[in-house]
């Protein structure tokens, strides 16, 4: 056991060198970060300015350039946990089904009588028929329009379910359709949030789906969670509605299939508009900040061909009527249509500031969120606080490191020095692994590293204590070292497996900073076992073969 084959020696050595090479970029953090950013920017087609070239040159490209990501608590930034109100989409889905159902029912008017859509809860559609005794037939007609959908659980599911309730046909989305709709809503929301965050251009945002209907958003470097919230929290649903009339009464009854909407600026003005929009922001292809003829900030937009056609047709038919431009249930403006607007482009004016018009253009361009969001959790960490934490963590780690090194050397002499080399290597390997897998280092993560420094010596201590014991009974130092390793191994394995189990559970159940801690703890266990079993042993073996001491003093 005391002999290492040459290939094993080289493998261990190679692994250590490789680990050190991967860890090195972290000691030149800002320089390597600048290099990486510049390389990315040039790759993205941005001009290679002298500054960018200098940044690229600052770090040799043949060296590894992977870095440990710094978590929000170290870098500063904003964290949001949002819950998407997926039910809001059901209404739109049902609205989309209405024309088909309506046409089918109208075709049998002589049986079921005239039909009329009623106001209802958003997740259902209610249709009153004038021959209530024919309700069974009406339900049948409506149901026949349902499309079958394929699900994992089986066939036979349809996209909606019709039923008869007190003389009305009630249509609800089927459970399978709800699930499919939820999933689509979540994916759209993720995509749109990603686009909006990317437009702002911050570094490495995290945008993740959590569970069925939640989205976790972490953006380093952004000033506050509020800023982030206003960026992604706005649905930015732009719609164009025919105006029925204006009123000053906030409680005015809008009538069936109409909406009462407030004015964005003047809180005493309300508009009653038709509920079904003429065109929606989904048909926009572009939006840019602009200025109107009076030089006030505005947003210009352009529709896709089908949206442009609808818009053109409507404006041609309604010259002289007011027309409401509605953003998130508030009327931005309600101009009177002066002329037919062909070509599908236009301009939105309101009392915008330049910033507001720019933000609105970004939001419109990125697309509307399919549904609104509730913010369940939000955290803002200032960059100075993060820097303070890094500084404090650095000093604490250094001192902890130094103290443990001295203590080990005092306790075990030469063998303590071997363990110290292994310990230094151990920390390098943790950083190497963290950089290689692109893990995120958080403040508890730093604590995890410090804890590992304390605990990493454990495996070596187990072996050394065992060697001490074996020296009392065994025949000579070589045999004692051999037995020491052999007999300590089961304790080392058991002790580390149990801690590793705790780390895995932490990783699985934890989030954010806690997860960062679990990662460093888990990796620390792996590297400390590796360094204790292979690296220290290799050092001891090499030393022993050179010196051949008759006596060793552990």
């Amino acid at each position: 056991m005391l002999q290492f084959s040459i290939w094993k020696k080289s493998l261990i050595l190679a692994l250590c060198l490789f680990g050190i090479a991967l860890a090195v970029p972290n000691t030149f953090y800002s320089r390597v970060e600048g290099h990486n950013d510049a390389v990315l920017e040039i790759d993205a087609g941005l001009p290679a300015t002298p500054e960018r070239l200098a940044a690229v040159q600052a770090w040799p490209s043949w060296l590894p350039s992977g870095l440990v990501n710094l978590g929000l608590d170290l870098r500063g930034g904003a964290h949001l946990l949002a819950e998407v109100k997926v039910e809001e989409v059901y209404e739109a889905r049902l609205d989309g089904m209405w024309p088909v159902i309506r046409d089918a029912m109208r075709a049998e008017r002589d049986v079921i009588g005239t039909i009329r859509r009623q106001d209802s809860a958003p997740d259902e559609m209610r249709i009153r028929i004038s021959n209530p005794d024919q309700i069974a037939r009406a339900v049948e007609i409506a149901q026949s329009q349902a499309r079958s959908i394929v699900t994992l659980t089986g066939i036979g599911a349809t996209d909606f379910v019709a039923s008869g309730e007190d003389g009305q046909v009630v249509i609800r989305l089927s459970e399978a359709e709800q699930l499919a709709t939820d999933d689509r809503t979540m994916r759209q929301s993720l995509e749109i949030i990603r686009r909006r965050v990317d437009e702002v251009g911050t570094r490495e945002p995290t945008i993740q789906r959590q569970g069925d209907r939640r989205i976790l958003i972490q953006v380093p470097g952004i000033g506050s969670a509020d800023e982030l919230k206003s960026l992604i929290g706005t649905t930015a649903k732009l719609t164009f509605h025919p105006v029925v009339r204006t009123t000053g009464n906030a409680d005015a009854s809008p009538g069936a299939r109409n909406l009462l909407l407030p004015d964005l600026e003047d809180s005493s003005v309300f508009y009653i508009v038709e509920q079904s929009p003429v065109v929606t922001g989904e048909e926009l292809v572009d939006a840019q900040p602009a200025f109107d003829q009076n030089g006030r900030p505005a947003v210009s937009f352009r529709f896709n061909p089908s949206g442009g056609r609808k818009f053109g047709q409507y404006t041609a038919e309604n010259i002289g009527n007011p027309f409401a431009i509605v953003l998130d249930e508030e009327v931005i403006s309600a101009p009177v249509i002066q002329a037919h607007i062909p070509g599908g482009s236009g301009i939105i004016t309101g009392r915008f500031t330049v910033e507001q018009s720019t933000e609105l253009a970004v939001l419109l361009r990125a697309g509307a969120l399919p549904a609104g969001m509730d913010f369940l959790e939000e955290r803002t960490i200032g960059p100075e606080l993060g820097q303070d934490s890094i500084d404090a963590g650095k000093i604490a780690t250094m001192i902890a490191f130094g103290a443990v090194l001295v203590f080990m050397a005092l306790s075990y002499g030469l063998f303590g020095l071997f363990a110290n080399v292994a310990l230094i290597l151990n920390v390098a390997l943790i950083f190497a692994l963290l950089s290689a897998i692109g893990a995120t280092l958080t403040l508890p993560g730093i604590a995890g590293i410090v804890l590992t420094i304390g605990m990493a010596v454990d495996a070596n201590v187990l072996v050394f204590e065992r060697i001490r014991e074996e020296l009392k009974t065994a025949k000579g130092p070589a045999r004692a070292i051999e037995l020491g390793y052999e007999r300590a191994i089961s304790a080392i394995v058991d002790a580390n497996v149990t801690t590793f189990i705790a780390a895995v559970i932490l990783f699985a159940m934890g989030s954010g900073p806690v997860r960062g801690f679990a990662v460093t703890l888990g990796l620390g266990i792996l590297t400390s076992v590796f360094t204790a079993i292979w690296v220290t042993r290799l050092m001891i073996v090499i030393w022993f073969e050179r010196r051949r001491p008759r006596q060793i003093n552990v």
């Binding site: 506050s224 404090a392 604490a396 443990v404 604590a447 159940m509």
Partner: protein
Amino acid sequence: MRLKLVPSLTKIDFFRRSYIPLGGSIIAMIVSVILFAVVGLNYGIDFRGGTTIRTESTQAVDVSAYRDALQSLDLGDVSITEVFDPNFAADKHVTQVRIEQQEGSESVTSETILAIENALQGFDPNIKFPSVESVGPKVSGELIQTAVLAVVLAISAVLIYIWLRFEWQFSVGAVAALVHDVVLTIGIFSILQIKFDLAIIAAILTIVGYSLNDTVVVFDRVRENLRKYKKLDLREVLNLSINETLSRTVMTSVTTLIALISLFILGGDVIRGFVFAMIWGVIVGTYSSVFVASNILLRLGVKRDWSNSDPSAGTQFANVDA
């Protein structure tokens, strides 16, 4: 000369008055449970919802002025604690302002935060807000569930692992020690009213891992000695094993404590509670693996027939180590 915390040969009888540590532990656990029930933990916003705002100013902090400024906003229960840290510069004054959960399921409205920031800036223009955190009730309820689940899962996973690797009596002893450590940690957090948040749960899980680490090393030696000294009384075997591993137990605890204490003093106030939990855990964990886990093992007894090469027992692994 070598630094030796523990002489190379010790013959301490750890079970001579075993009722003292065992009784002491039971009393401490009962006190912890009572404290938890009566005083309760000082839950952070992770677990009970609400908002915390960290303020930083060059002016000295006048807590009552802060309180007066926030009183008019009608925010319900507001707690203001000044934060001290040896790393702070002389003109750096930090407080932690906590506001209870407001109405509704969302975390907090930006207007509320803005109103608080304006109110504080009203009498201290230099004040800054390095961090603002807010958690809504929906999430905090879930977080507490997940946290409890995590601790329970970790303990059961360990129970199973030790059961597989040793005998069930070992497993019971180890888990009793773990429960002891967790309960005592909750007890000390109830007494000292240190903020109990998600990070503390992480610390508790680490304590579980660490305490186990210690227990397992002792048990590993017990298993070895049970095979080696077949005639020796279980109590003697346990004593021998603890004495043999004592040097290692102390060494590892000391190196870990050195690292943690340096982090406690220098690591900044943000993680101080977290590090405190771990320091406490290392001390209690070391104690419990020597006094609680082995004591329970002694009381439960171990069936030792696995080392008898009795063919009728049908164990195929009996002679592997011989």
